[in-house]
Amino acid sequence: MVLIRRFEERTEEQYTRARIGGYCHLAIGEEAATVGAVDPLGDHDYLFASYRDHGTALAVGSDPGAVMAELFGKAAGVAGGYGGSMHLLDVERRFLGGWGIVGGQLPIAAGAALALDYTGSDGAVLCQFGDGATNTGAFHEALNLAAVWNLPIIFQITNNLYGMGTSVAMASGETELWKRAAAYEMHGERVDGNDVLAVHEATTRLLTMARRDRRPSLLETCTYRWRGHSVADAGKVYRSADEIAEWRTRDPIARFEHQAIEAGTLDVGDVSELRREVDATVTEAIKFAAAAATPTVANLYDNVYGDPGTAAQFARMDTAGPFGERRETRGWRT
């Protein structure tokens, strides 16, 4: 959680210094909802996330340098610089990606759960998305599929009260989002998304339910994003300063620190040591990303199709105009 917080703060700084381009969405304040749900995942479980995915990538253990390099658009990035901030992934760690089309990942995650079922795996799928995503048609279609086919999946709503500038109250007929599970006779529940232990406990339990009982579930983790929707949004037009201040007092990191120190599993010295380590890790990640090479234009076509032959054919078509002007200006090879 400390790593995510620091990574996001420094990402914001790098974005304002124009070292990161495009759109950049930070998850500061939402660390517990992410970490508490990702941590219980086992070696056979798979993960899907929303586009607000930096924290998810770090939570699964992706290399912070490779994540930062992706934000910088570098070849050493987790998606080779092709996807950017909203499309992180780490296939080795079974994190199948952040998804830029809101709600788009839900049916995909259901399909992954179907595949686990089909192949007799004992794994399950965790699919994370925001409150906004619950209003897409894909939400209904995916949950219904999971219910009728008894798929091993947890649908996790990270309810931070807003989808961009639209509040849950304005956008959702039923504002207690976990209750929507009832429409599918699916298990639903709501936990405090700023309490990492509560999220951890619930996810662990629901994973067992998915793996052992083949029962899907809907888990609502209630939290708050401290920053604007993206770095370009100050986040103040649609919510009050009081509301933001109030939520900042419920800092998930401070809360866990307190819990752990009370329980005697951490002491104050450990905490400051950890912060120092994290600072160094993030600084290192930025250095790595800044120094890394940009992707080569010659490879632009390589991954469009799964078979190299088709990719090469398209690349040839592009340079095959009467003047072959692209080949000349770009030096592309086919």
């Binding site: 499309h87 089309i101 002007e325």
Partner: protein, 325 residues
């Protein structure tokens, strides 16, 4: 006339039409309280109230479907997609239902879907596309791609008054960068009438949207270098599109380049090239050339994105080679 940005011109066109016609209302994600993803509808809710500036749930299918239903009842909704890319979520409603409604039943569907399109800011594969050509293939939809502030306003008002579903592609890269004179009067820019952006005699470039300015820079470069005279035709609308203007220009220059930011294969440039081959073969002194994006998704990384989007140098190269004929 006042100098306005492209974005202000869109906003003005919409606001003025809402003042003139009660049937016009706005529907979209974050168009009200937030003022729109790109702030096109900033201040609208204060002026028109929450029922004419509707903050919709995150549900493109429902937004476009609701436009179909409301326009069927005689209203004139204007929907906003936050990014043109998300219109794919409403594909079925647009192409299966809305596009065929009048043909099937004779019911007019006077609605507009505003689609902020185009790349150039590292938006990555889902926030940078130019999907106009996909919809150009669907009979029943009209497709508008303004390049100037004056046209942005005039074409939007025309789109709202048009009895058909109109997809209005506003290029994000023009929003604040392009400024120009915009009449304050109630005017419309008719569909299907191209605009000569720059007159010339050696080579014609047919294009639309942000590529008009890429063509312009290329034309200036070659004019200064060796006096090559390039004519730029801004189509303004691609359905319907102005064949006569294109053929007339080719009759003057005998050379045609079609330039678009969308990908090459099956892009609307292919339609233009084929039409000129069919109807204007005798006018040509050189093969028609397309300058377009390569057949890949839009990459995120800045150098890759630059290689993807047609650049001034690409157009200059095409002009130089054409001049050899």
């Amino acid at each position: 006339m006042a100098i306005k940005t492209y974005l202000q011109a869109i906003s003005d066109g919409l606001r003025e039409e809402m003042r003139r016609d009660d049937r016009v209302f706005v529907i979209g994600e974050d168009v009200g309280v937030y003022g729109g993803a790109f702030k096109v509808t900033q201040g609208f809710q204060a002026e028109f109230g929450p029922w004419r500036v509707l903050d919709a749930p995150l549900a493109e299918t429902a937004i476009v479907g609701a436009c179909t239903g409301a326009s069927m009842m005689g209203l004139r909704p204007v929907a906003e997609m936050q990014f043109a890319d998300f219109i794919s979520c409403a594909w079925d409603h647009l192409t299966t239902v809305a596009a065929k409604q009048h043909y099937r039943t004779g019911t007019a569907l006077p609605f507009v879907v505003r689609c902020p399109s185009g790349g150039g800011f590292s938006g990555g594969p889902f926030h940078s596309q130019n999907p106009e050509s996909s919809f150009a293939h669907i009979p029943g939809l009209k497709i508008v791609c303004p390049a100037t502030p004056e046209d942005a306003k005039g074409l939007l008002v025309e789109a709202i008054r048009d009895p058909n579903p109109v997809l209005y592609f506003e290029h994000k890269h023009l929003y604040r960068r392009i400024k120009g004179e915009v009449p304050e009067t109630d005017y419309t820019t008719p569909f299907g009438q191209a605009r000569v952006h720059r007159a010339g005699s050696d080579v014609t470039i047919v294009t639309w949207g942000a590529m008009v300015y890429t063509a312009e820079e290329a034309a200036t470069t070659v004019a200064e270098r060796d006096g090559t005279s390039v004519e730029i035709i801004d189509l303004r609308t691609i359905i319907p599109w102005d064949r006569e203007a294109v053929l007339a220009s080719v009759a003057r220059t005998s050379r045609l380049i079609v330039l678009h930011e969308d990908t090459r294969t099956g892009g609307f440039g292919a339609e233009i090239a084929a039409t000129v081959a069919e109807e204007g073969f005798g006018l040509l002194d050189a093969p028609v050339v397309r300058v377009a994006a390569p057949d890949t998704p839009v990459p995120f990384s800045p150098p890759l994105e630059k290689a993807f989007i047609p650049q001034v140098a690409d157009v200059v190269r095409a002009i130089e080679r054409m001049a050899a004929y």
